[in-house]
Amino acid sequence: MATGFLSIVLHAHLPYVRHPEHPDFFEENWFFEAITECYIPLLNTLDRLHQDQIDYRLTLSLSPTLISMLCDELLLTRYLKHLHKLLELADKEIGRTRKNPHYQKLARLYRRFFNNTLDSFQHRYNGDLLTAFKQHQQAGNLELITSAATHGFLPLLSTSESAVRNQINVGIATFESKFGWNPTGFWLPECAYYPGLELLLADAGIQYFFTDTHGVMHATQQPDYGIHAPLDCGNGVAVFARDPDSSRQVWSAQEGYPGDFDYREYYSDIGFDLDLDYIAPYILDDKTRIHTGIKYHRITGGDAAKQIYQPRQALQKAQLHAKDFIDKCQTQIDQLSEQMDRPPMIVAPYDAELFGHWWFEGPHWLEQVLRLINQKNNDVKSVICSDYLADYPHNQVATPSASSWGNQGYSSFWINETNDWIYPHLHQAARKMETLASEFVNATHHSLLERALNQAARSLLLAQASDWPFIMKSGTTIEYARKRITDQLARFNYLHDTIHNNTIDELSLTALEQIDNIFPGIDFRNYCSPEN
């Protein structure tokens, strides 16, 4: 068997969902669910691997909006309230299912799960998950990287270089302010690349980034090693491409592991299944059904009635799937090695939120994969990209092709008939921001004017998030997405006008600063265009 590398990359991102103007807000649940089902289980997995002295390598991208939310006092307070409510519901479920031992066993499992989550959050991690991740990087197993400030879809913002530059630099500054060092790698939001982006990444000190498969396969030069070695973009910045085979095994709705009939069914949730009167206190406004996180059935398959979830069986299946994944990697590496004069590399990037939320057993699968890799008789070695580049610093030079990992591989999911109206506004706001920055570059530090300019930059960044056009196209919470964009643009326009008219109202400015309190260290002067 030949030796090769597997680089698993998890990208953790959520849009900035923080609404202090409301006592509680539904979309903040996205964040709470991700903590409970993804981030804490992932940390628990890393802790166990560390405890068992498993020598693994894993890359985790934490988006700047997620980093900001993970250290936001208001959200973390609300998270605890959310978790206590879940515990209350689990207790209630134990009572309700007392005549059905199968269901009650699961209800008890959920109570244990929520209790463990609470214990991990409060006591093991002291409410600070970022520091816990940082410790794993310091232990040498985990490489933390980051992404653009608000996950802007950079190819469609590139009409303004300052817009893209600030998305990158503010993102990196947010990471640095929390972790104390600059990341070596960068996750392009939606893997969306356009030629020239590597220059801005190099300016920001980034050594590598990722594209989808065709980003490298359609590069200006045919890649000698296909997607199984990085390219040098010509300026020393390396690009790694997603391996479609390993992606398909996890992502694909048809072939992917998460669709196995033994795994927990995401859509079978008591928020939808139980009587409204009973579930009302745990859903939205006591009347709109939502997912609670308590799910009793397995996928089952076909049109058959959903069968009850068997956790032990599901975990065994995850173990089998982990073994299958490694076996397939090995087969792929064996085949590739015959054509390569260096060990092939398989890059397997996934959304981190897949693991635990959508695919409940995902964290267990990941843990088993990393344990299997550590076994002595295994020739698939886990690697992080910065280590790979240290060992193989010289790579073929070519410019990748514009690409993304979205539907159809380019920008069409983010610009189409459902969301195209946003771009004239976003581009105009970016130009206005450049003008403001140049005009008021000498604003006194800590003055009201400087605060207003910095807040305008925050509003612009928040309007640029790729999540809103994505939602408009996917058709889920469309009204919320539209409102987020229009609100952010309104705030930007308001600030722009009051700055220009010298009518800044401190109360209103303070309100906006308290609502959108992200990126405290932002400096509007970075929007000055180079000509100015």
């Binding site: 991102h13 959520l14 202090p20 103007e21 409301h22 996205w30 190819p155 469609l156 356009y194 065709h214 396969m217 359609h218 200006t220 030069q221 045919q222 090693y225 296909g226 992606s247 992502w251 694909s252 992917g256 996934y350 959304d351 939120e353 897949l354 939320h357 959508w358 092709s401 990992w405 979205g406 539907n407 159809q408 591989g409 380019y410 069409s412 610009i415 581009h427 006194t444 003055s447 009201l448 999540d467 939602i471 996917s474 229009t486 609100d487 309104a490 705030r491 326009n493 308001y494 009051t498 700055i499 010298n502 800044i504 109202d505 401190e506 109360l507 303070t510 309100a511 906006l512 609502i515």
Partner: protein, 273 residues
């Protein structure tokens, strides 16, 4: 309140109610609007086959276009292929009629792997071109593996270019204005399909089966009554590509454009939205 040098004590933590009132007030009053009164044209790359254009005309121009039925709003799209930098991009262009009641449009492109720019303007009844705004330049990516440099002459993209340039030339010779360029959307579409057939080894039947509305036969394709449906063609091409399921291994340096489709519908972002 003056915007600089305020020495007043800043307001403390505001209540949820205060925050909501201020936020709602701003949203009501400052809902987004394009406030510029200058003409502009912006183009954005969508994929190897499309760009997206939006434009804004100043009040006078807008009024002229809307009131004078003899003035046709037109987009001239210029390109220069990556493989042939010697080609003068100003000679490679096609015209797209625009609906003056709209301010944005998705444009189908004849060739991939090219730089594109555009100009918006009007054609009067004498076919005189009046340019109102010029766009930025964008790069449209390649739809497949880039050919080696020595293969330039044989690339299907160049074949299309040649045909369209020739058509433009004929048009120039036969009329007084280059603005009567011979760009025919259906004809170009047929050429694009020919490129796809060659690049991906598709059979015509792969596309025709799904489409049912268009044929690659040039004579039929350019017939004005042909039921041209851009979306349907897009869908059928992608379906055909997906069906072939080309695999990007080292030994096959070609790629299934749609290999990530399954991934995107499983995208982690969907978990919350």
């Amino acid at each position: 309140m003056k915007s600089t040098g305020s020495k007043q004590r800043p307001p403390g933590k505001l209540t949820s109610k205060q925050l909501l009132e201020i936020s709602q007030g701003i949203s009501r009053t400052f809902s987004h609007q394009i406030t510029s009164n200058i003409s502009e044209l912006m183009i954005l790359p969508v994929d190897p086959y499309h760009l997206y254009a939006y434009w804004h005309l100043d009040d006078q121009q807008s009024s002229d276009v809307n009131t004078d039925s003899n003035q046709k709003l037109l987009l001239k799209v210029y390109w220069q292929n990556d493989q042939d930098k010697k080609q003068d991009p100003s000679k490679l262009c096609f015209n797209v009629n625009l609906d003056s009641t709209h301010s944005q449009q998705k444009i189908r492109l004849p060739v991939d792997a090219s730089n594109y720019s555009a100009a918006i303007g009007t054609l009067d009844e004498n076919q005189c071109w009046n340019m109102l705004a010029r766009s930025n330049t964008i790069h449209i990516p390649a739809a497949s593996v880039q050919p080696k440099i020595q293969n330039i002459v044989a690339t299907p993209a160049n074949i299309v270019q040649t045909i369209i340039v020739e058509d433009n030339t004929k048009s120039t010779e036969s009329t007084e204005s280059t603005d009567k360029s011979a760009y025919d959307e259906i004809q170009v579409n047929a050429k694009i399909k020919q490129i796809l057939f060659k690049k991906y080894g598709l059979n015509n039947a792969d596309v025709l089966l799904a489409s049912g509305a268009i044929t690659t036969d040039t004579e039929t394709a350019i017939h004005p009554e042909n039921n041209y449906d851009e979306n349907l063609i897009d869908a059928s091409i992608l379906q055909a590509l997906h069906k072939n399921n080309l695999n990007p291994q080292l030994t096959h340096k070609t790629l299934n454009l749609n290999s990530h489709y399954a991934a995107s519908i499983f995208s982690g972002q969907n978990l919350y939205f």
